[in-house]
Amino acid sequence: MKELEKLLERIIQRININLRELEYDVSPFIKNLVPLHQMVKFYAFYGITPNHPLDLVFRHSSLAGSYFLGKIRTRNSILYKSDIRGDELKQKGDVFQYQKFEIPITRDEGIDIEDSFLIKTLVHNFSHDPETLEKFFIRDTVSTHYANIHGSPIDGCFLGPFATVDLTSMRDCVIGTFSYVQAGEVGHLNVSPGTVWVRNPDEFNFLYRHPLNKLNHYINFIAGRLPQGFLMDFVDDRKEGFQRVFNAVNLEQSFPVPSNASLDRYAVIKPKTHISENVLVAQRAYLQNAWLGKGANAQENCYIINSRLEGCNVTAHGAKIIEADLGKNIFVGFNSFLRGRADSRLTIGNESIIMPHTIIDIKKPLTIPPEHLVWGLITNSQELASNSMTLKDFSKINNGLIKGNMSFEGNGAGFVTAFRERIHHILEANGAFFDGNKNRGHAQKNQNISFNTIQPYPDGKLQGLYPAIVIQP
């Protein structure tokens, strides 16, 4: 295990060098976050499909419990139960539109992870940085439990638990626990926990800060301790279901799935779940008594429990929906936590947008009317009033608005349009609009995936590390 220990030290040193300007030392946070002996316990696995490139190269890395699909390189890195999903990478011949430029893609894009430590992290989408279109890199970076690195090349960053970096090139930043950043390009920033920041320079700027005293109940992270709070307890309480699907070599599909829908064999499906046409259920999703209408999707680390989604719903990576009834075309953003109660259900009207990292946790029934934009932390109807607006009203903002902990500057209509276009794109990419002929997406392309497993050295100096492995057609 000596080599693995050395590797962790090397990663810590490299990220600390990057974060020296912020005077941030990651070592007390990550030293014992995952005991290294865990790295031997779990196999890594990769998917083979006729629809995605198979080009994997692993060197001097530990990959315990992690999943790989597409073109991926890892070097001098530790990945623990992370999903590196390369099914939306650009391909040779594509043309990338950036401002007035149309940039041809000259070779297949790959995810390149070097000198990094990713814990239960999802990596997905493609690099949006016009300067590095063929390489979606993650360098000198540590990301902790349930972080999302989505379409964001990053270098020298630390991501706290449940942090998301989305469509943003990022250098030398600390992204606090449960913070969401979608800002194009940022560097040398220390973003406090519970920040939700969506910025398109010269167009709009949205900033919300969760009240920390309340957020701490859901998630908090102190140096030397594991992440704590209700969100961690919630996930831990359902761990057993995943152990079963990961331990079994062959799993019988126990209930019907339409031929144009996709249910990943590494998802947990509990009784009374219904999957309609064009539905996508990704690995590590958890469904229990969940009714998913046509074109709905449940992405990685989603939990949908005792809930009904009418159709074309996007449940983004890490979102959780419990005891809720959602109409059609509703977007629930990354890592959002929506919890009604058996006798006090949460109802959300058609076309509403629940911003990433929103928490709705109610004890009395609550209804969000159709076409609303919702953000922040909401436990009752008063808080809903101060943390939501109709999309129509929001579109009327043309200067600035401050509402509770939310600040918005710029063009409200531009903001709403950007969200709507993105939701449409996600549904399209996931295959929600497949008509039997056109508009194939992940729900259709990911149906027949073969999974192969790979294992680390079981003992000795290299214990926990994987030998150099090249997997190509």
Partner: protein
């Protein structure tokens, strides 16, 4: 070189407003008032107070801006507003929020009454490396330090001791005088 030396232009420490560490802002304002009354060498009045430790060594300067800063309403929003520019919000937007917050804050009288009890060391500025100048230095050197460091005064030293303060107004008065001489 000019004919002026720093020691000829400075205000000696004994004539400048000083208070001991641990004093309140109100003590500092009273000390400033007293020093201004007693000091009539020029039409330019003192605009700051020096903070001394128990050994009578200068540990900081308290300017008018520092006192005004103490009047700014403080609550948990202060930090958040400060951070808005870091997140790319425009000057106008941040200014608008500050204005709204100011309008909601307590009246000036209440803010003054609260601020007068605050300790000077919480608002003073510790002198930086470029804020010291030897008493034998020339006016040119003093001007260079004032301009480069954007200081409003320099602490004048003799060996290890601070013996006075050279204010920007003192340097300016000397320059003004020289200009007039050149023209005549």
């Amino acid at each position: 070189m000019s004919d002026y030396l720093v020691k000829e232009l400075m205000v000696p420490l004994s004539e400048y407003a000083t208070v001991l560490e641990g004093s309140t802002l109100f003590d500092a304002v009273l000390a400033l008032e007293k020093a201004q009354e007693e000091f009539d060498h020029t039409k330019y009045k003192h605009r700051g107070v020096l903070i001394l430790d128990k050994n009578k060594r200068v540990i900081g300067k308290l300017g008018q801006l520092d006192v005004l800063r103490a009047l700014e309403p403080k609550n948990e929003d202060s930090g958040k507003i400060k951070e808005l520019s870091q997140f790319g919000f425009s000057y106008n937007f941040v200014h608008k929020i500050r204005k709204q917050r100011r309008l909601k804050a307590a009246p000036l009288k209440d803010l003054c009454s609260k601020a007068s009890k605050l300790k000077v060391e919480d608002f003073m500025q510790a002198p930086s490396e470029g804020e010291f100048i030897e008493e034998e230095a020339s006016l040119e050197m003093a001007i260079m330090q004032l301009v480069m460091g954007r200081h409003i005064s320099l602490l004048v030293t003799r060996g290890k001791d601070i013996i006075g303060i050279l204010r920007m107004t003192d340097a300016f008065a000397a320059v003004f005088h020289t200009m007039k001489e050149c023209e005549n």
